[in-house]
Point group: D3
Chain length 169, copies 6
């Protein structure tokens, strides 16, 4: 009887799964996440972009580099020759019931290879979120990240996966 | 008039803030986050730990290494000589209203230095969460992360910060 | 007359050998090594795995990440898209003539590419051995590593290589 | 009752040990190891140094960089500001009973800090040995490493440790 | 008789110089360099900043991260806890005698430590220049870098060094 | 109307360009650069190579490793499986009109892939130049780098590019 968690060998120790028999296909993955913050914090980010100090430009670079570093920072991830990485930010200044504004982050990663890029997309979102926190923490230490998850993947044996929104609890 | 986002120079370009005048103090930071998953996924993780294939042991290593890599992956973070990193997992098998189980991640990082370790604690939590996702994605692609944020910091000019829970939206 | 050490150019300076004319084949390499220690040290490792503190789980992660980092740490190694990495530990509690117990480490690495993965397998073994040392050095500073070498490789122009044991001196 | 393997927390999970209470002292560590090879292989290395293609110059660089990368590749190692790294090679062309020549590697690492540099010295030796293997494997795939261990350390609470030779089995 | 190139040991092999006896002082270094390009290329960079696609914002991040990576990429450099990194760009749209426009890059790095940050400042300039090239090479493959050198350093035994301009040949 | 700087998405934010539709071809790039120094400095380098302390052997290793690190240090560069890297140094002891000697650096990089290796060749030259500076700065802080640029590339849709010398200003 196999362990359904395929990342373990017969001794129950972690391994980098053997994908040498998998076929090389084009694979795409998209992940999302949201950074919640005080409305004043978002206002500073928006002003900075126009005038001086573009927080999201730095977060963009961090997210793209994060995608490339995935196999270095996530222990069982395979190295991959990413063919494209893009990150989009969407700003929600209007405070919700909780009184907070937010920035939505969407990362899309492409590869032609034997394994998918879900982790690369999720790592890109996480790094972009962490960088936003880092650059604004002097004014808003209470920022937090929610709903970081996969929203789309295609390619590979398991086919296409889609969901509208990462579920809220 | 200064930009309250201190990570920018007079030209409005990002910089690594000059902390050379800050005093060297002991600094501690704690961050938290939660990974939501199907109850069956948590059951597999728990079984694996006992019998074969300890997901959280790998996530623990990834989180600790993530803390050490923070200044490499977050562009404006200062390099720091971390003196201690610890990560705790708390398992919540009982499904909530949403029908999901969860694992809470808490990372605590220490340093004696001129700048704090908030980002190191947050990065450790993010890396541990990503690794849990990676190792269980074959059985549960819908896993997601919520409430990743800072819960405690001490040391440095801004003093001590505490909150009970990272706010839920 | 050529230098039989192919890693040098005509000026006698090191180069990363040009493999662009080599054919892409599936390649596998296995390397081994042994960590010698006090019987009491091995007993602590074995107890830890059952109850608390699994040294070999951390060494396993370090070995797998080491395989992925090979082209970063060994100057003339080519970057490769490893398709699989696995590590096995074998415990020998029975002290030999020298009064020491030991742990055998075996790493197997796979790739489909233009150059082999001997160095990746050897680096994985070395990193796993170093991590065992690190985690036990507080109780046994005299631990040492022996017989680290290649035991098997296949694929590529030079064909298959096998040996039973890395020679003892 | 504590786990004598201090790298584990109360839950039995790995941690980077808290050294924040340790005093800052000057610390030095020396490690050794031996690479065994065919006499002809050593002859090629020696000729190369004189005429063209200095294997040991590359291994030297790899060893020094390896010392600096230790906290990146060994999961529970603390980052440290190494103040000095040096590596010596000693050549033994005269074949032993086993008919093999050898190169001895000695690495010495210094730091002023809260934790020792044993792992940095051992990692430097391992990286230098791996690089020698890499650069000569085209002519001698049977090379192997023996007796990699610590021979000296000083500084820190546990004081000075010395041994003449890493024990042979 | 000593080798005036202090980076070599008695055997003539490279080493990371022992700085453990040097005193800890505040040290600052500034380096400069110039990227030459077609006037049209500079125009595109300037337009991008205002409207869409800020090349220099990416180069800024690359330069800052480059400063932090110096001890990883320059073999004999000591690891250092940089306390500040800043980069300035100056644009010269007016074509010179040669018909080219240019961007001047100035990087300033600070540390409190036992060795200087000249290499960190020079690495920051080089990484920023390379990133400008990368992002504009689709429109101007002939871009090149000139006069990359140190313009200022202070702190440490050798005192203060200043020059107006990196010499032109 | 498109931004001719293809590294930006529709929002004007940086992206790693999507090359998934590009064909896989063999690609080669060559870059050059020159390090200017006092005649006495070059004399020390030349003596060192013969007798003790080979500066250029270390620079060679740094350049080759730099080529492999390109996608890690240049934010929008794609990861690539380099199949070959070689670096040549040419020494010009005869002082020019300015009274300086120089070392020319030429790096050639090969890949079979979907995007070119211009950045890898330029990064290799930059890292080699920085390493020469590092190892000689104790005797000649005024060294500087000039004419770092691309001299040749082939493969890919844009075809072959050649120039005799990187233009001097």
């Amino acid at each position: 009887m196999n362990n359904p968690l395929t990342h373990f060998n017969e001794e129950g120790r972690a391994r980098m799964v053997d994908v040498s028999e998998k076929s090389v296909t084009e694979r795409i993955a998209t992940a999302q996440g949201t950074v919640y913050m005080q409305p004043e914090t978002l206002r500073l980010i928006q002003e900075g972009r126009i005038k001086k100090g573009d927080v999201l430009a730095v977060a963009q670079v961090a997210g793209i580099q994060g995608a490339k570093k995935t196999s270095d920072v996530i222990p069982m991830c395979h190295p991959l020759l990413l063919t494209g990485v893009d990150i989009q930010f969407e700003e929600y200044p209007e405070p919700g019931a909780h009184g907070l504004s937010s920035i939505g982050i969407t990362a899309t990663v492409k590869v032609t290879g034997q394994t998918g890029v879900e982790m690369e997309a999720l790592t890109a979102v996480s790094m972009a979120a962490l960088t936003i926190y880092d650059m604004c923490k002097a004014v808003d230490r209470d920022m937090f990240f929610n709903q970081i998850g996969l929203t789309y993947k295609t390619g590979g044996k398991s086919g296409t996966f889609t969901r509208q929104n990462v579920s809220e609890v």
